[in-house]
């Protein structure tokens, strides 16, 4: 009997420590493949179908609270809101009339210049159901998903400007990442100076114009609009206003915090814009010449 261990009294399967290590490694692998490699979207969608009924049931109390507060909203407040909306619509109507005329003119001029015509985009109105609970990011859940034709990567705007971008699409819902989410980026242009830059969310409800030289032509109060260089956002949508400009001689780049133009963290209805027309094909490259020149060109650049 020497060398034989007694049978275990309580059957527990594999040793707890082995199980712990196995599951820790498994969840780490999941984390890496989700955060860094983004392999797991199909897996997530599959699981989300399972979780959907429970999610919907859980969202009901929040819905109820919101609807109840709407219901008891005072008459006076609604009247004020109504007046405000009417005023806005009148203003908007006047601008729309002009816009129509301008678009007509634009089309005409473009055809004269033989430039590519801008295509109108199809858009979908969606309602924000709730803020995602994950405290590490700024995301909201919309009530329209793949069934309403929404795709990942679409731009989302409200009446004042760009709100964010669709990052995940489920069958009945979609996840909208707000512009203020950390490291959510959008290519922009400063209206006054025509300077192109990239605007990043900085995480605290603000955004930041990064990689602009310390002497860049930016002033507090400048309007920042989309430049449309990414092929996702239409050009000219308002994004933010420059809050202040901190120029530090020790730094290469200026620090430029911006305030979002749209009510990025406090809206209920948004417009999901359809995909823009595809970018023009790249000009054909002359392969052999480029590869030959590459080696020679790279060296002087380094010196």
């Amino acid at each position: 009997m020497v060398g034989h261990s007694p049978p275990p009294f309580f059957k527990r399967g594999p040793a707890p420590l082995a199980k712990l290590v196995f599951f820790l490694v498994l969840s780490l692998a999941l984390l890496v493949s989700d955060l860094k490699l983004r392999y797991l979207d199909a897996f997530r969608q599959g699981l989300s179908v399972l979780a959907y009924p429970l999610q919907m049931a859980a969202a009901t109390p929040a819905d109820f609270v919101r609807n109840a507060s709407d219901y008891f909203a005072s008459l006076v407040r609604l009247q004020i809101e109504n007046k405000e909306l009417k005023r806005k619509q009148l203003q908007g109507g006047e601008r729309l009339l002009r816009l129509e005329q301008l678009e007509q003119e634009n089309r005409h001029l473009r055809s004269l210049l033989e430039a590519r015509e801008r295509q109108p985009v199809k858009s979908t109105v969606a309602e924000i159901m709730y803020t995602a609970k994950d405290p590490f990011s700024r995301k909201v859940i919309l009530d329209k998903g793949a069934q309403a034709g929404i795709e990942a990567g679409q731009a989302v705007v409200d009446d004042a400007g760009v709100v964010g971008q669709i990052t995940r699409v489920f069958p009945m819902q979609s996840e909208l990442t707000l512009l203020t989410d950390k490291d959510q980026a959008i290519p922009v242009m400063v209206v006054r100076s025509g300077l192109r830059a990239v605007l990043f969310g900085s995480g605290d409800g603000l955004m930041e114009l990064r990689y602009l030289a310390a002497n860049a032509d930016v002033q507090p109060g400048d309007k920042v609009v989309t430049s449309g260089l990414d092929g996702v956002f239409l050009a000219g949508l308002p994004v933010a206003t420059v809050a202040r400009v901190e120029r530090d001689q020790a730094q290469t780049f200026a620090r430029i915090p911006c305030l979002p133009a749209a009510g990025v963290e406090r809206f209920t209805h948004v417009l999901v814009l359809g995909h823009r027309e595809s970018l023009p094909a790249r000009p054909p490259e002359v392969e052999p010449v480029v590869s030959k020149l590459k080696g020679r060109k790279a060296r002087p650049a380094k010196e």
Binding site: P16, K19, F23, L24, L31, K36, K133, D134, I141
Partner: protein
């Protein structure tokens, strides 16, 4: 089971369907969209810790992993973030169960608090390493609220096991 703790009452054996029902109820509570409200306790971690302490032979790391994944899906977190934390909670609660059960509910809550706190710290570290923003210190308040909830939970979740199997009106006790 033999009475391994100070409770003088011999409890009925636990029913596994009840364990899973309470876990799913906790999942439901976690799914309620409270947005970025601070100090919302993590119900699944709490209930999981409870059952891992009470029934270390029946529930443990595997359940922690599965419910962690379900939580990740529901709250829009990174896949594996809650799973990682819950696996740690389940393991530690299983290991601690022989010690914790000797204490009164209030003292048990004090044992569980560091567990829940640690699970939050682990999640913060994982997400910060991946480049997320720091959500603020208020988030950690949730585990203190959860530890306070342990005391009522201790009675609520054991209620079915307190029921006598057949009621005898003539019994003296």
């Amino acid at each position: 089971m033999q009475p391994t703790n100070r409770s003088r009452r011999i409890l009925l054996p636990v029913k596994m369907w009840f364990v899973y029902t309470t876990l799913f109820t906790a999942l439901f509570l976690n799914y309620i969209p409270t947005g970025h409200l601070p100090a919302v306790p993590d119900f699944v971690a709490l209930v999981l810790a409870f059952w891992c302490v009470r029934e270390p032979l029946k529930i443990g790391i595997g359940a922690g992993f599965v419910f962690g994944l379900l939580t990740d899906i529901g709250v829009g977190a990174a896949l594996g973030q809650h799973a990682f934390a819950y696996v740690l909670v389940a393991y530690a609660a299983n290991e601690l169960s022989r010690r914790v059960l000797w204490f009164t509910p209030v003292e048990q809550a004090l044992h569980v608090l560091p567990l829940l706190f640690l699970s939050q710290v682990v999640m913060v570290i994982v997400r910060l390493l991946a480049g997320a923003e720091f959500p603020g210190w208020w988030m950690f308040f949730g585990s203190f609220v959860a530890a306070v909830l342990w005391i009522p939970l201790h009675y609520v979740l054991l209620l079915p096991q307190y029921q006598p199997m057949d009621r005898d009106d003539n019994r003296p006790i």
